[in-house]
């Protein structure tokens, strides 16, 4: 499966939400990373067909998605941002309803629902009302519904928002499990969601594509730009204003600052290994206020 975005643009009231976005996706997990308002949801809405782009086209295996019509929908599984689903529906009932909407034959629907409930570990909650589920369980219902039609492309919009760390890890593992032989596009502003599972990261800022690369390559690109600086309480304010800081840790009387800078920020600054969070801050952290 190959998805190609060609020059996608979308304006709202004269302001670009997405500008000339081009990218190519093949099987694997793609982390769509950007701050709030970067254009992630706009891109996804255009991709799934809820919005129409002003310019550009999306190709599925080199075929214009628009020419696929209704068949395009059988390629995609989608989990929107903050879904609440129907609180008065039971889990099983909701998934069956989604099967009906996705026009999955009844003979296959029951089996598929059972199978997915097993995978997302919700078999015991099948008769629970959705309103009675925890946030994590609800998101697992969400990914199960997205997988019902066994899509080639799985699109997840901020799927871990509001989940506790344990549920977040569980959800990440599920994404990895479902990523075999399909494209997974995972939009998030939480770096840890994609740090260890994404094959590629797409950095989106103010509607423009900043970079698309593997996490390793992005981290490698920051080589020599991440430093630790030790500061005293008295000198802290000055450093906070002057430097781009990704982390602070207090140890007895000293404060260790993790600094992102193209040049050595202080004489005693020590160069350290970068991580994806540093990449995020490097590209999106302008104007960071302390």
């Amino acid at each position: 499966m190959k998805v190609t975005f060609k020059g996608i643009s979308k304006q709202y009231k004269g302001k670009y939400a997405l500008q000339d976005f081009s990218a190519e996706l093949e099987n694997g997990i793609y982390g769509l990373l950007g701050t709030n308002g970067a254009g992630k949801t706009t891109l996804i809405n255009i991709f799934v067909g809820i919005l129409r782009s002003d310019t550009g086209q999306i190709l599925i295996n080199d075929v214009d998605a628009r020419t696929l019509g209704i068949e395009f929908l059988s390629h995609i599984g989608y989990l929107p941002q903050y879904p609440q689903f129907y609180k008065n529906f039971e889990v099983m009932e909701f998934l069956k309803y989604m099967c009906e909407l996705k026009q999955i034959p009844k003979s296959q629907a029951e089996k598929r629902v059972q199978e997915l409930l097993e995978i997302v570990n919700l078999s015991n909650a099948r008769h629970k009302k959705i309103g009675a589920l925890s946030g994590g369980m609800r998101q697992r219902v969400g990914i199960a519904q997205a997988m019902l039609n066994n899509p080639n492309i799985l699109i997840l919009d901020e799927p871990t928002a509001g989940l506790d760390p344990q549920e977040r890890i569980r959800f990440r593992n599920l994404i990895t499990k479902f990523s075999e032989n399909r494209i997974v596009l995972l939009a998030t502003h939480i770096v840890s969601d994609i740090e260890f599972i994404a094959n590629q990261v797409i950095l989106l800022k103010d509607g423009r594509l900043l970079k698309q690369d593997t996490p390793q390559a992005l981290v490698e690109g920051l080589k020599g730009k991440v430093w630790t600086v030790t500061a005293t309480e008295e000198a802290l304010d000055e450093k906070l204003h002057r430097l781009k800081i990704s982390n602070m840790m207090r140890e007895q009387n000293d404060i260790h600052l993790r600094v992102i800078d193209d040049e050595q920020p202080d004489v005693d600054a020590v160069n350290v290994q970068a991580n994806l969070e540093d990449v995020f801050l490097y590209y999106f952290g302008e104007g960071e206020q302390w």
């Binding site: 809405n45 799934v48 067909g49 809820i50 919005l51 129409r52 628009r66 696929l68 019509g69 209704i70 068949e71 395009f72 929908l73 059988s74 995609i76 989608y78 989990l79 929107p80 941002q81 903050y82 879904p83 609440q84 689903f85 129907y86 609180k87 008065n88 529906f89 009932e93 309803y97 989604m98 009906e100 909407l101 996705k102 026009q103 519904q145």
Partner: protein
Amino acid sequence: MVTLIGYEWRKHFLKWTIVFAVAVFSILNVLKIYSIHGGNSLLADSSWKELYSQMYGQFEGKITDEKIGKLMKIYRPLEQQTADHTASTTYRNSNTQLSNVYEDFNFYRWSYVNPMKYAYDYKAYAHAVVTTANENIIFFKSLNNGYEARKNAAVAELFQGRTITNFSYTEMYQYYVQYDFSSFLVLLICLYGLMSVFLSEKETEMDTLLLTTKAGGAKTVWAKLLASSLFICSICLWFWLIDFVAYSWIYASWDAASSPIYVLEEYIHSALNVSLGQYAALSAVLKTFGMLFFGLAFLALSYLFRNALVPFIIGLLALFGCISLQEAYMDSGHILVKTMNPFVLVVNRELFHKAEYIPLWGYPFPSYIVALLFSILWGTIFLSGLMISVRKNALRKGGG
């Protein structure tokens, strides 16, 4: 599609709050009918009811000279005794059937003499209307006023051969055809139930998800519309049944079902030549049609907003607006304004209790036909608006 309709029904209408509202409103409805009976019925008084039952067997059915004679034999002496207001008011005098001679007089006057006289005279009255209409036809033709001539021809045709041959107890229908409280309750339930149909999809963020499924676009919208129509029809059927059963049970009669509608004095100029039973059914169908229109309007409101409170208030205000408009033009000569208001279908006696015509392309159309056409027009506008908005939202138009 049937399965989708089932799911929509389950989603929006199978809620305990709606079941609770229907149950409470049903009880309220029966209590209201009971109070109407208590406050208005001649037979709410047990002694009147008892006497009426005793006498009814002698006078019901075909009106004959013999029955009239028998009734007058009872009534005339009472009339004479009470004419100068000097009769004894002694309670339960041996010569009286009720508390005193005045009550006896009033009983026979209101329960038997007046209704039977009205029935007996109706044939002559209808004949006079036909004669006048025929004279008018000649007059208007001489003035080359084709529309008025055609209108009078329609009136003459409508009143031709009208007669009331039977006497029956009509009180139940008299109040039944004027009863609107249940319609108001149905509208409130519909407003509450339908407001969530589109709105809840937005509240739960399901609207975007639906559009990414094959049947989540137009098919789901149609399923919603059909499930909503089914809901409206079910609620209407339930309340109209309660009305009919409660009226029949509380008034202990539906004897007049086969009598013509103009047996009720308020319908002396009725636009229809149907029996009261047929009219009850027709009125229920038309009320349901009116409810379907209001349902569409509520659905359009549900589609336009993301928060339930605002459209609910707007819906309620629109409803009160229509009711006020209806009240303002009731029995007025502004027939066109009346028929433009869809609420007239809900209180449709306004359309049927007298024959009114509206000129369309030079021909007289009965007001109920025009009201129906207007409602279809408004309904089509709402439906088209809804479908256009839905299509605009589903830009890829992939969703079937």
